[in-house]
């Protein structure tokens, strides 16, 4: 059948003389693309556009085809998060009435992830935490019923939103503790300057039902933890400036804080450090922690990684050191890993590129250079 068709095509060509005299190209239809079925290898890359900071955007990028699939506007200093069912992207941001100046409107916009159209918004009080780039500024409850948005005015609090009815339900004072680390259906933890976690439990109406402070589990003076919490199935992992790993279990009513362990050996301590923007990622099923590491001293905690270290979360052993320098992609400021069985590691670099690696072997697969000014926050559905 295949052969027959081929013969018919060839005959057709001969009959009409040649390719050039074949039927002219048909008129094309004006269309708008819809997205194909979502892949575990898609990433949502937040470009903060730092030199044009009112024009941040999220780029949807396919780690297999290396195609740009679409874009979501993100305004000024956005927080970006996907809904637990992956159907929606929420963007908490600020718009000014006159582009770069004028009255400030803070808003959470909801974008449908199949059409990339804005399907609604919730206007906030002008308190949205304007951080750059954005970590745990915005989060969803595990059932998707609540959205939490971090406020800093500089007083710290958070808003509880109802994404279904597009309303603000409440504002909860966090007594100086910041960010919204969601856990379960109705709990939000914030990081405190005292080295503790504040956990607020909400009632069904999204109002405060209870609050609890954890024990002190880190020292903000001698070895602060990065605020960039890495989510796990049971809570979050925090890294300290000196390379300690703090695992926090938030499945119970009271946080369970595991004893910290160190990524760096005694000889490396104080020399090799984690650093960057989105400086670590975890593959849940493999139990692997990927960290941007560099050699530096005090004050170097935002330096991108010259290496990516792969740590085993169970054994606490270092499985690999992947050097970046020879790849000429620049220091790595952001890492993210897909959660499937053939995982990809995405690395946002100081050279404004995103590199795609095999997350099992560290083999470089692709370097994508058209990802805007500052592709330093990468979400993976």
């Amino acid at each position: 059948m295949r052969t027959l068709q081929f013969g018919a095509v060839l005959l057709g060509l001969l009959v009409t003389g040649s390719a050039m005299a074949a039927q002219p190209l048909a008129a094309e239809q004006f269309t708008v693309e819809s997205l194909p079925r979502a892949s575990p290898h898609w990433v949502y890359i937040v470009d903060e556009a730092f030199a044009n900071e009112i024009d941040a955007r999220v780029r949807l990028f396919d780690g297999d085809s290396y195609r740009h699939l679409g874009q979501i506007d993100a305004g000024f200093n956005p927080g970006v998060i996907l809904s637990p069912d992956r159907t929606t992207t929420a963007v908490a941001t600020t718009y000014f009435a006159r582009g770069g100046h004028g009255t400030r409107t803070d808003v959470v916009e909801f974008v449908d992830n199949t059409s990339l159209t804005t399907i609604g918004e919730i206007v906030l009080p002008p308190k949205h935490a304007q951080l750059s780039p954005a970590f745990s500024i915005l989060s969803y409850s595990s059932d998707g019923r609540f959205v939490y948005v971090s406020y800093i005015t500089p007083a710290a609090s958070f808003g509880v939103l109802d994404p279904g009815n597009k309303t603000v339900l409440s504002e909860i004072d966090t007594a100086g503790c910041v960010l919204v680390l969601a856990s379960g259906r109705n709990r939000v933890s914030s990081l405190c300057d005292s080295g503790r976690l504040l956990t607020v439990t909400l009632d069904e109406q999204g109002h405060e039902a209870a609050r609890a402070l954890s024990d002190v589990f880190f020292d903000p003076d001698s070895d602060p933890i990065f605020a960039q919490a890495v989510p796990t199935s049971s809570g979050y992992v925090f890294l300290s400036f000196l390379g300690q790993v703090h695992e926090v279990d938030l499945t119970g009513p009271q946080p369970l804080i595991h004893a910290p362990w160190s990524m760096v050996g005694a000889a490396e301590k104080g020399h090799w450090r984690p650093g960057g923007q989105q400086l670590a990622a975890i593959h849940g099923a493999l139990g692997r922690l990927y960290v941007c590491m560099h050699s530096g001293g005090e004050g170097s905690h935002k330096e991108g990684g010259s290496e990516i270290w792969v740590m085993d979360l169970k054994t606490h052993h270092r499985l690999a050191r992947w050097p970046m320098k020879s790849l000429n992609i620049g220091p790595v400021s952001a890492v993210q890993v897909s959660q499937d069985a053939a995982p990809l590691l995405f690395a946002g670099t100081d050279h404004q590129a995103v590199a795609v690696f095999d997350a099992l072997t560290g083999q470089l697969r692709h370097v994508e250079k058209n990802l805007g000014q500052s592709p330093w926050l990468i979400l993976n559905p």
């Binding site: 060839l10 002219p24 190209l25 094309e28 269309t31 708008v32 024009d55 290396y66």
Partner: protein, 180 residues
């Protein structure tokens, strides 16, 4: 003369008006050996085939293929486009990225397709309603005219009449053969 021969002669004559005999013969040889079946596919399928290849964005096509690559500014349909190529932004050479809207107003130009050596009338539309894509900037101006000839101009934001009038990227849509 056999019917098939007559047909062949007729079409080869019209072809000869547009190309040299030598290149025609060479191409014919390739057809007969089956070696250039791929380029005979409608150009759109070629583009999809390229886009699906895992390193299409990384491996820039060789110079001679630029006019066949919808992610390349030298693609034949883009002969007077000015802006970001939608094919690098989640759309294609003739479709808008998800979540944008095509401008209902537009301008019409003519581009020569070297693959079939025909001139096509194309419509340059902008895709609208999201902030600038920023990928694959492309500015070509064959037969483009200044703003006072609005229907031949590519400096103006053709999203101007959309309800969401921000410019995102540009497409070039085949309308048909240009007038002979």
């Amino acid at each position: 003369m056999h019917a098939l021969d007559r047909l062949f002669e007729k079409s080869s004559r019209s072809l000869a008006q547009r190309t040299s005999r030598r290149s025609f013969v060479a191409v014919l040889g390739q057809i007969l050996t089956g070696s250039i079946l791929l380029p005979l596919l409608p150009i759109d399928r070629v583009s999809r085939a390229q886009a699906a290849s895992p390193d299409s964005a990384q491996a820039r096509p060789p110079h001679q293929a630029a006019s066949d690559d919808p992610q390349n500014c030298e693609y034949w349909k883009y002969c007077a486009i000015d802006g970001y190529l939608c094919s690098c932004c989640g759309g294609s050479s003739h479709s808008c990225p998800p979540g944008t809207a095509m401008s209902p107003i537009t301008w019409i130009g003519t581009c020569h397709n070297p693959s079939d050596r025909r001139d096509y009338m194309v419509s340059y539309n902008d895709c609208c309603g999201k902030t600038s894509c920023g990928n694959c900037e492309c500015n070509r101006n064959e037969r483009e005219k200044p703003i006072y000839r609005l229907s031949r101009n590519n400096d103006v934001n053709w999203c101007m009449a959309n309800s969401d009038s921000n410019y995102h990227c540009s497409v070039s849509v085949i309308l048909g053969l240009a007038d002979q």
